[in-house]
């Protein structure tokens, strides 16, 4: 009795393309991995260093694998900036919540907001380099999205400053627009220092130094300003 033929089952056609993957990652994981490589390349050498080829090589896969995830360089960069922008926004939200959760003292000092933000910068330096270190060859569309992320910080600071001003009985006509622009510059300076020299300027030092400075000042008057 002839043995039934037990020829090896043919590989499904899709398996052929799957074989290109160095390790068999689902496409979502592969996409993230490629974006991580692209972010590293941008942080190291600017947007000009990002090509499908460079990103594939950095990830250790062949170019067709990269093209399975992205239509091309423009598509990849758009995905990258959109992912990083979302991460930045999430940090701003966390930072705002840090103080609302009761950590802020009654004078509205933004100690925890600042600490949360600067710690996030230290932990994800490549992400924040996009905002705080001048980069070469930023595509116009990416530049616009990053500018929008910077503006987000401005509105966070507006909320914080308004609370600080109320807690310290500032005159109602104090120029909030000027205040938030100057504050943003200080916060961005702190972020850039943490990025570029975290040993000398750790998040704790920056947050402590700036809030201790604010804390040395008291309201000149102790009653709320006339609301009229």
């Amino acid at each position: 009795m002839p043995k039934p033929r037990t020829s090896k089952p043919k590989l499904p056609k899709a398996g052929r393309s799957r074989r290109r993957y160095a390790s068999r990652l689902p496409i979502e994981a592969r996409t993230e991995q490629l974006l991580d490589s692209a972010l590293r390349l941008v942080a190291e050498s600017g947007f000009g260093a990002v090509s499908m080829h460079a990103v594939a090589r950095h990830t250790g896969v062949t170019r067709p694998v990269a093209y399975d995830c992205f239509a091309g360089r423009t598509d990849l960069l758009a995905a990258l900036v959109s992912r990083e922008e979302a991460r930045m926004r999430a940090v701003f939200t966390d930072a705002a919540v840090a103080d609302r959760s009761g950590a802020a003292d009654q004078r509205g000092l933004p100690a925890e907001t600042l600490r949360t933000f600067l710690t996030a910068v230290r932990d994800a330096p490549d992400t924040w380099r996009l905002l705080y270190v001048p980069l070469e060859a930023v595509p116009e569309e990416s530049r616009e999205r990053l500018t929008a992320a910077r503006a987000e910080l401005l509105s966070l600071l507006r909320t914080q400053f308004t609370r600080y001003a109320a807690a310290n009985h500032f005159p109602a006509d104090l120029d909030v627009d000027v205040a938030v622009h100057l504050l943003r510059a200080i916060v961005e300076m702190a972020g850039a220092r943490v990025l570029l020299d975290p040993d000398r300027y750790p998040p704790d030092r920056m947050a402590t130094a700036l809030t201790a400075f604010l804390d040395a000042f008291r309201p000149a008057r102790t009653t709320p300003s006339d609301p009229s």
Partner: protein
């Protein structure tokens, strides 16, 4: 012998140092009018009314010319700041001191708008080393600002991290300068000095208890 008064108006024969300065002045004009990218050897020669080889006598190429321009403008800006910085020590009222210093600083920024724009918002038209040079200049200013802060506040705020506070003061000053440079009608200098005056009159320094340092 040819008559120097004949034909086109004679170019003054300048001493080399003066000629070099004049070429840099024209380059600065170009930056002001059309941005750093417009500065080429040809454009500078044309603006100065000289032949291109003369520009090459002073600068090896465009990058060298731009670098020389930055060196000169940065040293001018620094010496401007150095004349203003000590004045913050003069006042006894903190709000007055800060406001006076800011007023003086913004005035000197507006006296050299192109210079400060180059230093505060370096664009892609400038060579990459610019950032490093600017950072070094900032460090020099930081030293002076820190000394002022220590002198004015060191005894009044215990455990003050003067280095970080100096960096914050400089960051705020630079932001103020960028505002008056980029949106002069929305942010005239008086709006910024009005802000610091109002802010400091709403705040007072906590008295330091005796012996606390």
């Amino acid at each position: 012998m040819s008559d120097p008064s004949a034909g086109s108006p004679p170019r003054r024969r300048l001493a080399p140092a003066d000629r070099r300065d004049e070429l840099l002045d024209r380059a600065l004009d170009l930056v002001a009018e059309h941005g750093a990218a417009s500065v080429t050897m040809q454009a500078v020669a044309r603006a100065a009314g000289v032949a291109r080889p003369l520009v090459y006598d002073f600068f090896a190429d465009r990058a060298a010319l731009l670098d020389a321009l930055l060196v000169r403008e940065e040293s001018r800006a620094l010496s401007d700041v150095m004349t203003v910085a000590p004045r913050v020590l003069a006042g006894t009222d903190l709000g007055d001191s800060v406001t006076t210093a800011l007023e003086a600083f913004l005035r000197l920024v507006l006296d050299r708008p192109t210079t400060w724009r180059m230093l505060l918002s370096p664009t892609e038209g400038l060579p990459a080393e610019v950032g490093i040079r600017i950072e070094r200049g900032r460090e020099k200013i930081a030293g002076v600002v820190e000394a002022s802060i220590r002198a004015v506040l060191g005894t009044r705020i215990a455990g003050l991290d003067t280095e970080v506070v100096a960096l914050a003061v400089i960051a705020a000053g630079e932001a103020a300068a960028r505002l008056v440079l980029s949106a002069p009608s929305e942010f005239p200098p008086a709006r910024l000095t009005g802000f610091t005056r109002a802010l400091f009159s709403a705040l007072t320094l906590e008295p330091v208890p005796n012996g606390r340092h």
